[in-house]
Amino acid sequence: MEVHPLLQVQELTKDFGGLRALDRISFTLNQGESLGIIGPNGSGKTTLVNVITGFLRPTGGRVRFRGRTISGMGPHRIARLGLGRTFQMARPFYHLPAYKNLVIPLFSPRVRRLAGGRYGDRDAVAIDLLEEVGFERDSFVPFKPASVLPHGYLKRLELARALAIRPELLILDELFSGLSMAEVSSTVPIIEHLQAQGITLIMIEHRLRELFRIVDRVIVLNFGRKIAEGTPAEVMESEDVKKAYLGSE
């Protein structure tokens, strides 16, 4: 049997009217790898995530997950295959306690399938998940309504929400944005722990220093094109990348 890479993105293109947001992007990602996607604002990073996860339909090209074409499927079907994502803007269910926020993803058919047809006690699973992402159970943080939680906790709640469906591939869209230095350095070990569990990662990030500690490989986008790919050190040496970030001349 042929062994497929976990994710194959082939010549992916997305047009918004006359604007080409993604221009023939291709890359592959193997099981257990961690990939960073960087690029200036408006370079198409979030569009790329939205196309991969089915929230947008590609204009051309395709995406395969474990060798199966997933481009064109609805977002909920892609998620069921094991592709989890976080959103850049954390918009939790504010009126609910933090752990009740996770009851909704724990209702996913994928969770039932992985548990052998049973859902189990969703509240208990939710609280465990929150503890994993650093909600202190002893000070009752998981039981506080999401509306009173500070931004750093909301970001981690968003991470826990994506983890609740037990993804094989996790796409983190600017998880670190808006976090303080202290919050970032406490979140990095959580992500490293996920890597140790064998979860494949795609991280979109502006905080390059932290990103480069985590990922093995980086893709650089600019105006919807992939302008560089390689290890963090290789990419930062590239002339094109310097131009994109610092401007030409």
Partner: protein
């Protein structure tokens, strides 16, 4: 509570009828509010009401089915039919969904008028009614409270949380692998069945079903009740219906001015208490200090 019960028993037949009406409209308002909890704003609750009314009327008129068969049949079939009719537009959000629901009952009326099916403009009359006004009253109130507490309990379950999650952030629910369209269809079925029950009940109460069941009144009243009582709380629209329907009966003596005063009342409510009566009262209740038993 006992006094209220006594009052009901001693009430003249006219006010008993008003109470039945109130319960029916309360059920319809609850069905509207369930959709709101799922993020679907309907301007056409008359669709559910009318479909249920016509199913019950048709079954009773043409086949002579008794009311205790037509009521459950109209409830289930009405729910299925409404969910089926609206399934293609479930992907629409907000105002677009609302516009489609507004148009559908108006279209159905014209279809019945043009094709003269189901009694055409005359409607179907002489339908079977309940054995006594007591059965009618008890049944309508029981149904109203069953729907009210049933829905409130449903919204507290994990299933209900998913429905509310779709309202608050549908992308987040989608990315959890949950098919929001399927859940919305289920909510439509529940709301449709509830609305259809109200319509079917009304058919047997008045022994008549005709084109007015698709009238705009049945679309607007649930919304008005929800505005007065507080949207998305389920208890709110129930309270609202119990204020608005008796009020409109009291105002009946004023003739044409009735609508003006009724309208003013609504405007005052929207301006002075936009959150609605129920959220306001429950907020005030929690502001008072009181002893709470702690285990």
């Amino acid at each position: 509570m006992i006094l209220l019960g006594m009052g009901i028993f001693l009430a003249p037949p006219y006010w008993k009828k008003v109470l039945v009406n109130t319960a029916i409209f309360g059920i319809l308002a609850l069905s509207w509010d369930l959709l709101v909890c799922t993020g679907l704003v309907s301007l056409g609750q008359a669709l559910f009401f009318g479909v249920g009314a016509y199913i019950a009327g048709t079954l009773n008129h043409y086949w002579g089915w008794p009311w205790w068969v037509t009521l459950p049949t109209a409830t289930v079939a009405g729910g299925l039919l409404c969910a089926g009719i609206l399934a293609p537009v479930l992907r629409l959000r907000g105002i677009y969904f609302a516009m489609v629901t507004l148009v559908l009952p108006l279209m159905l009326v014209r279809i019945i008028e043009a094709t003269k099916i189901l009694g055409g403009t005359e409607g179907l009359s002489g339908l079977q009614t309940f054995p006594s006004s007591w059965v009618e009253l008890v049944l309508s109130l029981a149904a109203f409270f069953a729907v009210l507490f049933g829905f409130r309990r449903l919204m507290g379950t994990d299933y209900g949380l998913v429905l509310q999650g779709i309202r608050d952030n549908d992308r987040s629910v989608l990315s959890s692998g949950i098919n929001i369209h399927w859940f919305k269809a289920q909510a439509l079925f529940i709301a449709g069945a509830t609305g259809a029950f109200a319509g079917a009940f009304m058919t047997h109460t008045y022994m008549f079903v005709g084109m007015p069941v698709f009238a705009l009144d049945y679309s607007i009243l649930p919304i008005a009740a929800a505005v007065v009582g507080g949207m998305g709380t389920l208890a709110g629209p129930a309270v609202g219906a119990f204020i608005l329907i008796p009020l409109s009966e009291v105002l009946r003596a004023l003739g044409a001015l009735r609508i003006v005063i009724y309208g003013l009342f609504l405007v005052v409510f929207i301006v002075a208490l936009p959150e609605g009566l129920f959220p306001y009262l429950s907020r005030k209740y929690h502001q008072f200090e009181r002893w709470v038993e702690v285990e």
